[in-house]
Symmetry: D2
Subunit: 359 residues, 4 copies
Amino acid sequence: MNTFGSILRLTTFGESHGAAIGGVIDGLPAGIEISLGKIADQTARRRPGYSTLASSRREPDEVEFLSGLMSLGADGIEPFSPGNDRAVTLGTPIGYIIRNNDARSADYEALREVYRPSHADLAWQQRYGIRDWRGGGRSSGRETAARVVAGAIARQPLESIGAAIRCKLVSVAAETDPTRFAAIIAEAARDKDSVGGIAECRVSGLPAGIGDPVFGKLQQNLASAILSIGGVKGFDYGDGFAITSLRGSEAADTIRVDNGAIRYGSNHSGGIQGGISTGGEIVFRAAFKPTPTIGKPLETINSSLENIVFENAGRHDPCIALRGVPVVEAMAALTLLDACLSAGVRFPSHNFQPGSGGI
Amino acid sequence: MNTFGSILRLTTFGESHGAAIGGVIDGLPAGIEISLGKIADQTARRRPGYSTLASSRREPDEVEFLSGLMSLGADGIEPFSPGNDRAVTLGTPIGYIIRNNDARSADYEALREVYRPSHADLAWQQRYGIRDWRGGGRSSGRETAARVVAGAIARQPLESIGAAIRCKLVSVAAETDPTRFAAIIAEAARDKDSVGGIAECRVSGLPAGIGDPVFGKLQQNLASAILSIGGVKGFDYGDGFAITSLRGSEAADTIRVDNGAIRYGSNHSGGIQGGISTGGEIVFRAAFKPTPTIGKPLETINSSLENIVFENAGRHDPCIALRGVPVVEAMAALTLLDACLSAGVRFPSHNFQPGSGGI
Amino acid sequence: MNTFGSILRLTTFGESHGAAIGGVIDGLPAGIEISLGKIADQTARRRPGYSTLASSRREPDEVEFLSGLMSLGADGIEPFSPGNDRAVTLGTPIGYIIRNNDARSADYEALREVYRPSHADLAWQQRYGIRDWRGGGRSSGRETAARVVAGAIARQPLESIGAAIRCKLVSVAAETDPTRFAAIIAEAARDKDSVGGIAECRVSGLPAGIGDPVFGKLQQNLASAILSIGGVKGFDYGDGFAITSLRGSEAADTIRVDNGAIRYGSNHSGGIQGGISTGGEIVFRAAFKPTPTIGKPLETINSSLENIVFENAGRHDPCIALRGVPVVEAMAALTLLDACLSAGVRFPSHNFQPGSGGI
Amino acid sequence: MNTFGSILRLTTFGESHGAAIGGVIDGLPAGIEISLGKIADQTARRRPGYSTLASSRREPDEVEFLSGLMSLGADGIEPFSPGNDRAVTLGTPIGYIIRNNDARSADYEALREVYRPSHADLAWQQRYGIRDWRGGGRSSGRETAARVVAGAIARQPLESIGAAIRCKLVSVAAETDPTRFAAIIAEAARDKDSVGGIAECRVSGLPAGIGDPVFGKLQQNLASAILSIGGVKGFDYGDGFAITSLRGSEAADTIRVDNGAIRYGSNHSGGIQGGISTGGEIVFRAAFKPTPTIGKPLETINSSLENIVFENAGRHDPCIALRGVPVVEAMAALTLLDACLSAGVRFPSHNFQPGSGGI
């Protein structure tokens, strides 16, 4: 299963060191204006070289769009041009690819026979009986580049109705003071080790009434989205795990009407009641484990079922949570746009009807 | 959306005070033997009257099976009889209903115009513009009775290959000593208040190689299952949120081969690597909020958009986490059986082939 | 797989001689008014005793609705009452059952070991290794009663936007004069034999722009719907198979604008171009085979793999196409409403918003 | 909706004159050996220049595989190389693209404002309000090239269990003598006109027990597959529409056991009973309309809603049924492999298990 979503569906494909990774976005309404620059902004955030704290693999992550978009010129729509920032959706699937230019497969020959600890390697082999050993293959974090492209598209119609998605790290290695995060990560890197972290995502401006009450609860689909990201070990929303310390009388989000407007006295629920958005801020968290690939030696086995010690010689991210932040936003955007479409929300769109002069 | 699952699909229906709730289980292989007694055991665990700590509504929760099963007699299969413990699946959908006998709708007239705080009432109204106000309608916890029936069926083929699912409360109102849980809940009930709790589920005996590596990760589907339960605010697995305090070198599940058998040095990953089961114990947790319906007065609004104070006069559960435990097991069973079927696992089944004398 | 549809989904369950058959309709918008009398009208059309030409099994086909509906009283919505013709959808799944009262399973003991020719019996056994032999079990035409209920609901919102679905037999045993159909069928019945027929369905008033251009073409989903009916051997639409005799210049539906309105010069395409409705009349046909169960002796085998001669002693329909007509309409209604919902069509609905006084 | 299938899913994307068309095949088991040469054979059959009777657009249809495949070398699997005929599936999605090299968009400027009769142009515009006018955009027959690639892959595991799919034209413009087809088509081309035809597909070697009995009938999924092909106006199987002329006693496929083997006395049912394969030959037909694009002048309208006469100046296929033949085979292969996987059929595969020396 390589598809996510219900009305809005993202299908991704590609191995880390194959020819390319890519995706197909289906179910986006027609006539939605998309800024190509905003897509580039998002993919830049996920890219390894973006932060000096992250791994040094150079991946320009240049996206090539193959279908589903045309460009908006002075005289209406015209054939798609990547140089024109203003694209518009056709209502057809948006196919795109990102070439794996910096693959350096030779680097990975050493991994061919190793099952790295706390990686997918061994479980994958047991599942499929065949494995692309190069850089994690399909299990590589590189697959998330395709998600970030899709999320960067999905967030644009959300923004057009006033919804904003912002995620940031709120703890690294149990430290919650952000001014100390960089030092902690740098120290882990010096030790050839890695650290975990918690990312918190806040969504403002989502209308009330989004989400389904039984299966398809908004928190259910968000949890599914977030736990589909490699390295995430937990999800909670609103007060989350901490709410278990409160009494019902403390945890209640009381409701008031002020001048005809409905207001909540608190937001323990994280903007979702009974699976449906309340119109308040959506708040949820994702717990990222420390990167499993580290420079320190670890006991493991190889494909001949021999006990070995594995010491990663190549680059690694000392804190995958850092690069996870834009991926969390991307998955949130896809989930929320899908839920909005399911609930019948309409988004501002260009309409080139017969007689309108558009075409 | 009222359907859960991919190959194995559960569709539930029913409002809390309508004629009945029920479900349809589709995708179960043919010829699987099902003990009806084991189903009754599970539904008894979820029933309000099961614990003296839970709400006093009497719901015998008598399940009537309408299709998909025949009985196993001395001479092979025969028409389904609820008195015969040994049922066998036909490979057709299993439809079943539970009548809402103790509905006492009149009790709920008072709720007709109230939007209870931290309930689905208001968000539901904003979503649908129409609402069955009686006892939460479709958003009632009663819907989970249909899930427990389905889970009680799904766990049986899992048990037949050696997998066992066990969930229990590991904290109540932040207290982790189980001998103190009853007193804490009783005290909350005396105060007309409620408490939250954390349930931990452990699954042993699941084969390695179950789950998909990108979308359809085992933890993703478990998270989706658990967050679809009303009142659950968080999910984590393995070390979960706590893993963010560890370094990569501490969190690594090293691997060894001993006498040809693959063994892990630890289980920080909770039995799942890269979305796929490792063969180790699956461990995950669900955080339940305190019951939102309490006897204490709470500020809220009514459907005329007036500010009111709502004081629940009727029964309520002082700790929904208690009754959530069998629901967590049920959703885990459905998710894991679905994942096993997707991965091609075959389960022991009766086969009445032509010429076998079966029929 | 026992579910049909994408946004609007019908799941059916039940064996012909089990406790009940039934269905769950999910995805219907909230607030849609449904006349219960119109449902009864449709189920009456499918019922065996409806025509003197059909089988004599008495099936009152009394539908019990279990969920998803409330009633519309003088003061707004109220608990569902089957005696009130005016029901309204809650947006939750509509569950319903039809008890199998006239089951007479004993009649079917003779079938226990017989694989009837041109029936599902043997292929079913090869697929599942277990079989409810009574009256065809899940393969019985009785399953279509659940579809007719769902179709009778689905056609009501379609009617509210002006769409009308009408199906009739256009040929019986190759005869196209309807005044002769009754005599042909009666003659076949006298001969303990059966005849086939072709049903033609016409849908007027469907808006332009319904259907998807690649997968999910309107004709594709209609074909899937119609071929899911037992006994149907073919589907075509517009000029159908006959169009293969025309040249492109003859088959073209020319287009004109008259006083601002778009008009087609012909309707060879049956109201669908490129998978999308044109706004013209949708026309399609279903070919029903002659009933396979007949009174004449036929060579076949039993479950001991012995060659036998089977002579059906019980009732049978001399022409299943007759009873197929309302089933075709039902499947068309489900397909078209689903396609309308996918395309974003909105249907007139009651809205009991906060402050509206509805509740 | 641009996805077809249930367990095996094909998602296609791409407009006729965009950068590329392509597809993603998901759900194929791991370790299946695929000959790249056999894929090229199939795409060659669909290509416009394949027959002298078809349109002259040169489309080399060179497929670039981006993911999901590795190559089979002397020492086991190795990175995918298009020059090595022996590829093997990874169990991950197979992404592929075909560049639109011979697009000549300028040719299509004339079509920008024309709604061609019996094309998707106008209905598309009414559906989406925006349209890629170049060569039909997404509605172009070119989309089927992506299907043929997928079908050429899907048929290989089917062949490995002995199933063979063969489709051919059985009538052109009502003529059933194949030796006269070429002359009829050439004559239509000379007249700047086009002709329709009927393709018949036969599948031998499919095991008994494939297909589902209610929704998901084998004939239902085949009909859905075939009607998803542009230009197809009808589908029937077995005796199809002609069976309506037979009596039940004539249409019965009697069954016999000969030396322990089950044999049918006839195959009126086309190898399917009750939605499930019988093990006999699957036979079905597709009716293709005459190509709507012809050189003769036709009345139509433009996007300014003016009445115009449209005369196609460019190339056109005088008989799309010709090129439809390999598309029918492709869609049949996808449908049947999907049904086999749903029914649990296992296909011969390479397994490079730990310790096997494979990797």
